[in-house]
């Protein structure tokens, strides 16, 4: 049986290897700095003394400095668990975005002695949207690769795409992140357009792209701005009926939140969200019905009220 919680993946082991990879003599400061940078918060307290006192017999006895007995660190072979995960990964429909058929075949060959950790049909994403991206489409693959190269290379590209009104258009952008949505089963690209005076953020679905090519002789200054989207806070009161508290805590687990208990049946929860995600959060909150009451901010309350007022109007008409 494979183990996830094994010392071979331990953070201390990888820190030791980093230290051993250091060329030449190793100072006490370098050891402490490496532990501080890559360790847990309290690793200095627990790991550093072991290294300093050479309890792991990693260094030749030399009082002036630490000379590693193992030069250049070690290369840890892949564990069976890692090979099995890789075998699963190369069977994912998205693998073709990164690897060509020949590479996938070679990898399959190299991993022929292990079985995958799981197959696609072992998992059933029952509430996933049904209009996910087609990862086998040639245009899609080519756009994905161009965009990805531009993200890594930090250069501008010209994208031709179909906008929300189904009009074909083109834009020069600097892509900086590719985001995968598990719910939508699609990739989106986050990018900047515009110039130094006016930077505009775009989020584009790769499936809408018709072509993506590097901008030739790009002399414009590369724009950049804080990647952080604007943050807002919404305060909710959660009434613990029909297990709403637990459902809410799980559903909002991918947001930063701070929850307080008011009494045995009522909780107050502050959720911090990016403005880009506002509508999505709004409908998630609506899905709880009267079990969640928005207490602030005023703006969010207004958004909820607008929908409820429209709803009341529809019901009034129905009754008439």
């Amino acid at each position: 049986m494979e183990r996830l919680f094994s010392e071979i993946y331990n953070r201390y082991f990888s820190i030791v290897n980093r230290i051993l990879k250091t060329r030449g003599k190793i100072s006490r400061k370098l050891i402490a700095d490496t532990v501080r940078e890559y360790g847990f918060a309290e690793s200095l307290l627990f790991m550093l003394p072991k290294l300093e006192r050479n309890e792991w017999e990693l260094f030749d006895e030399d009082k002036a400095s630490y000379s590693p007995k193992i030069k250049g660190g070690i290369k840890t072979p892949l564990s069976r668990l890692q090979r099995r995960w890789l075998k699963t990964a190369i069977s994912d429909p998205r693998a073709g975005l990164f690897l060509d058929e020949e590479q996938i075949c070679r990898l399959r060959d190299m991993l022929s002695d292990v079985r995958p950790l799981f197959n696609a049909d072992d998992l059933y994403y029952y509430d996933r949207f049904r209009d996910g991206d087609d990862y086998s489409d040639d245009t899609y693959i080519s756009c994905f690769r161009e965009v990805y190269k531009a993200v890594k290379g930090h250069y501008r590209i010209r994208i031709e795409y179909t906008n929300a009104r189904r009009k074909r258009t083109a834009v020069k952008v600097l892509p900086y992140r590719i985001e995968y949505s598990v719910k939508n089963d699609c990739f989106r690209v986050l990018c900047y357009a515009g110039n130094k005076e006016r930077v505009k953020k775009h989020i584009m679905r790769i499936s809408r792209m018709k072509s993506a090519v590097p901008v030739i002789d790009d002399t414009d200054e590369l724009i950049s701005c804080d990647k952080e989207a604007k943050r807002r806070k919404v305060t909710l009161k959660v009434y613990d009926e029909r297990n709403a508290m637990e459902r809410a805590m799980l559903q909002f687990a991918d947001y930063r939140k701070n929850t307080m208990r008011i009494d045995d049946r009522t909780y107050r929860c502050e959720i911090y969200y990016d403005t880009d995600d506002e509508t999505e959060l709004l409908i998630e909150i609506l899905s709880f019905g009267p079990m969640i009451n928005v207490e602030g901010d005023e703006r969010f309350i207004r958004l909820i009220k607008e929908r409820l007022m429209k709803q009341k109007e529809l019901l009034v008409h129905k009754d008439i």
């Binding site: 996830l4 919680f5 993946y9 953070r11 082991f13 990888s14 030791v16 072991k50 309890e55 792991w56 017999e57 290369k75 840890t76 072979p77 892949l78 564990s79 890692q82 995960w85 890789l86 690897l99 590479q103 990898l107 190299m110 292990v114 950790l117 799981f118 998992l123 059933y124 029952y126 509430d127 996933r128 049904r130 890594k152 992140r177 590719i178 985001e179 995968y180 949505s181 939508n184 952080e228 459902r247 805590m249 799980l250 559903q251 687990a253 991918d254 930063r256 307080m260 929860c269 911090y272 998630e284 899905s287 019905g289 909820i304 009220k305 607008e306 709803q311 009341k312 019901l315 129905k318």
Partner: protein
């Protein structure tokens, strides 16, 4: 009394604390009855240490204590900080010494030694004193993990290293990029993360949305269940609710599939309950405390149940199967009429199609659309229906034959409309 340690032997206890802190957020010392104040303090201290840089501490109401919560921001979209929990397995000094020296000695491809030979090299080359039996034990452990392979040569058992990441392909850059992307959302993504860690690499270009960081806490449970599914073995699960309101209980059955929700932050194992043989059960992975692999399931039986499951899925909205039994049982038809401007709000119709799990959608009048789906448990659909608040013209629930308005269905409709009325009251509308 033992001293505080940063690393731990067993992750089970700690996993519950991490979940309680980060899923619920409001739990403080008094919410852990039966645990000593010291145990609570130690667990909290460890978690704060592991997750430094990713957590925030906020004063609770009244300012008497601090809540800790995950700092979800752009950084989090590039990794899962909870992976760190898996990197805290304790080890002995001997474990670390043998790990580095044995793997160094066997570094060259084709180099193979027996345990006594390795023991000799350790002392001759590095001055490390290690009994050959201890060396053999460690080598066998690593054969089990797949880091080493072994073969017989004459009477001795020889060990050599397994394949290195760099040997998989001539150029691993694209493969590494793929791992960076998949480690974020593929189940058991932590394993991909360990491959990146071994290359001292990290992701900075990919992000993930609608993925729940706490899923990783259940990954060892998931791993056991996937093995059982693959080997067609029965399992005995120990279940306890996270709020610990009820006693733990056991469920036995044949695991058939893992059900994943991309919206509610839950994963389940769908189990054919061999005790009752009446229906399927979906048990939440975060409530499974232990998985015991039992005997092989009857192959024909497993196949039959799998076929029933596929048939039943047509009528399942989420994870509730009851009272459906092998495609037969009481079904409910839900009809939702929504209003949407067909020129400017076509996205509403698109939502009905793509989120409606195969329900039919048709235009019944100008700017009015009807969505229809037959399921076993309409209550499961209510949260989704409520996301259309502001557009719901009518909601009707019928029997599956389309015209029986049973008392239960009327109660359900009333419940839906009463909830709306309560919402109007809350906001003074």
């Amino acid at each position: 009394m033992s001293e505080f340690q940063e690393l731990i032997k067993n992750i089970d206890k700690c996993r519950d604390y991490v979940r309680d802190f980060f899923v619920y957020g409001f739990k403080s010392r008094s919410d852990f009855p039966g645990k000593s104040a010291r145990t609570y303090d130690d667990e909290r201290r460890r978690i704060v240490s592991w997750l430094e840089g990713y957590i925030s501490e906020d004063l609770t109401q009244g300012g008497r204590s601090k809540n800790i919560s995950l700092q979800i921001d752009q950084k989090l979209l590039e990794t899962n900080p909870l992976f760190r929990v898996w990197q805290a397995a304790s080890f002995t000094d001997r474990d670390l010494i043998l790990h580095f020296y044995i793997l160094k000695i066997l570094e060259d491809k084709g180099e193979a030694y027996s345990a006594p030979q390795l023991s000799e090299i350790l002392i001759d080359r590095y001055g490390i004193n290690a009994d050959w039996q201890i060396v053999r034990r460690k080598c066998n452990e690593y054969v089990d993990e797949g880091l080493l392979t072994s073969y017989k040569e004459g009477k001795s058992l020889k060990y050599r290293r397994g394949i290195l990441y760099g040997e998989l392909m001539e150029e691993t850059e694209s493969l590494t990029d793929m791992i960076k992307c998949f480690a974020l959302d593929l189940p058991l993504g932590y394993v991909g993360h360990t491959i990146l860690s071994m290359q001292d690499d990290d992701n900075t270009f990919f992000g993930v949305k609608h993925s729940f960081p706490t899923f990783t806490l259940e990954d060892e449970i998931l791993l056991s269940l996937l093995e059982a599914i693959h080997d067609k073995r029965k399992v005995k699960l120990r279940i306890q609710s996270n709020r610990r309101m009820h006693e733990a209980f056991d469920v036995t059955g044949i695991p058939l599939q893992i059900f994943v929700s991309t919206r509610t932050g839950r994963r389940f194992v769908c189990l054919c309950n061999t005790d009752r043989r009446s229906s399927f059960d979906c048990m939440r992975l975060d409530q499974i405390k232990e998985v015991k692999l039992l005997e092989q399931a009857d192959e024909q039986e497993e196949k039959k149940q799998r076929a029933y499951l596929e048939k039943d899925k047509e009528y399942i909205w989420g994870v509730s199967f009851r009272p459906l039994v092998r495609g037969k049982g009481r079904l409910q038809k839900l009809i939702l009429t929504v209003s949407a401007d067909e020129h400017t709000e076509s996205f509403i119709v698109q939502r009905l199609i793509r989120e409606g799990e195969g329900g039919s959608v048709e235009k019944i009048a100008d700017n009015t659309f009807r969505y229809e789906k037959t399921v076993v448990d309409v209550i499961e659909m209510f949260p989704w229906i409520r996301t259309f608040t502001g557009r719901i013209v009518e909601l009707k629930i019928y029997g599956s034959n389309g015209n029986t308005l049973s008392e239960e269905n009327t109660v359900l409709e009333k419940m839906f409309y009463d909830d709306l009325e309560r919402s109007f009251d809350i906001y003074g509308i």
